[in-house]
Amino acid sequence: MSDTTPTPHGAALLGAGTARRSLGTATPATRIIGLLTLATMTWVVVSAFFITSPDVVQGDSVRIMYAHVPAAWVAYLAFVTTAIASGISVVRRHRTLGFDRVAGASAEVGVLFMGLALVTGSLWGRLTWGTFWQWDPRLTTTLFLFITYVGYLAVRRIDASPERRAKRSAVLALLAVLEIPLVHFSVVLWRSLHQEASVLNPDGDVRLDGLMLFTLFSGVVAFTLGFVWLVIHRQRLQALVDLQGTVGLDSAIAARATEAVLR
């Protein structure tokens, strides 16, 4: 049964059935996404450094924005993805753990991007506000959000059965995602040192020059593509890890059985 009709997904996972072997988690689709990511990212870097002009007030430090804003946006996107995947895995009673794996992979990538948003924001803050860190509402709530998801990942790393891991972490993810609106609107709600959003603000008007806006927008596209690529690969990696456990157990049982027969 195994070598006649393997599912396309399973085949892709192991690199069997395709012309090139030893591919690990790559498929034609992810390769296209990867190339698109590289292309858009190159354009963003070139435009951010060489084409766009410095801001009237902030000068060159505005070039950090093209990394900071997309990183923060992708982190939100990742955490919302985690929550949606977790919600589905709780409500549906599939035996497959696919949704749980997507949730975990997305949170991993989200934590990376949230960390990047914090680091780049801190450097930008030093240049514009004159301070690396300040206990203001936006920064504090963002830090709590980051810690919350570090905790979520810690729960996922615990050595429990995949089903138990899935249930516990799904509840966590559904609680944690509720912090996001609080973080995003903390700038509007409390007065904050952090500026209000320039694009997604309540008034609905965009406060960016044309080329600056386009560069920022392509940054969001590039980072989102990178996010998709990373999540797909990490999700499949997790599947391989789970699979390794099963295969390892099977072969161990087989080996012991042979021993018993021989004895």
Binding site: T148, V150, A160, E163, R168, L172
Partner: protein, 226 residues
């Protein structure tokens, strides 16, 4: 409702027989208060920080109480037994919540007493009413978050370090609210009573939200793996 009380009574009886709260948690919480006093080493600073320190000590101690409340269940698969009886999981949650609230009330009352003795705070009649309300609402909030996140990490290895990591970011608003309201109730008067009452309203919302979330998710958290 009877089931809720039965679960709570069971927890409290187990607790009373072991007297863990008395011999371990309470001394720990008081020790935290004393250590803060030694570390800050300034009367004026202590009087201003008293409210925050009380609640910080309460939070640390509460995590111990919650841990204990699940350890007695998971020891001999007792939680599985509890769930195989026909009791609704949400009622088990409310029962455990009630038991934790009871223990934490004792704890916080002792801590406030400690602050009066050690930090020299004064409470007048109007402040006392606010103080009692704050303590009750904040303890319910603290207990509901603790009971919910305690269930998340129950039976997992390394839960002792996981629970603080998960619960503390969530408890941050509660810590702020309870500290401000208690500050208003204590004599220091950096915050007036009306603002203190407003913070108590926030604490009440917090308690309701997390009690609802806990009751809704307790079934998912405790059901045996398929």
């Amino acid at each position: 409702m009877r089931n809720v009380f039965a679960v709570a009574r069971k927890d409290l009886v187990v607790e009373w027989r072991a007297r863990l709260l008395l011999v371990r948690v309470l001394p720990f919480a008081l020790l935290v208060l004393v250590l803060f006093a030694v570390a800050l080493d300034s009367e004026a600073l202590l009087e201003r920080a008293a409210a925050g320190l009380v609640w910080l000590a309460a939070m640390f101690a509460a995590l111990l109480v919650v841990q204990r409340c699940y350890d007695i269940e998971t020891a001999d698969g007792a939680l599985d037994m509890l769930l195989t009886s026909v009791v609704e999981p949400s009622r088990v949650f409310f029962g455990k919540l009630l038991a934790v609230v009871g223990q934490l009330l004792v704890l916080v009352v002792v801590l406030v007493g400690g602050a009066v003795v050690l930090y020299g705070v004064r409470v007048d009649a109007a402040g006392l009413v606010l103080l009692v309300t704050t303590v009750v609402t904040a303890v319910i909030g603290l207990a509901s978050v603790g009971t919910l996140y305690g269930a998340v990490v129950a039976q997992l290895t390394g839960r002792d370090s996981l629970l603080p990591l998960l619960a503390m970011p969530v408890l941050a608003p509660l810590l702020i609210g309870a500290s401000r309201a208690t500050e208003a109730a204590f004599g220091s008067r950096t915050i007036d009573l009306a603002t203190g009452w407003a913070w108590t309203a926030l604490l009440a919302v917090f308690a309701v939200v997390f009690t609802a979330a806990g009751a809704a998710s307790f079934a998912t958290l405790t059901e045996p793996d398929a």
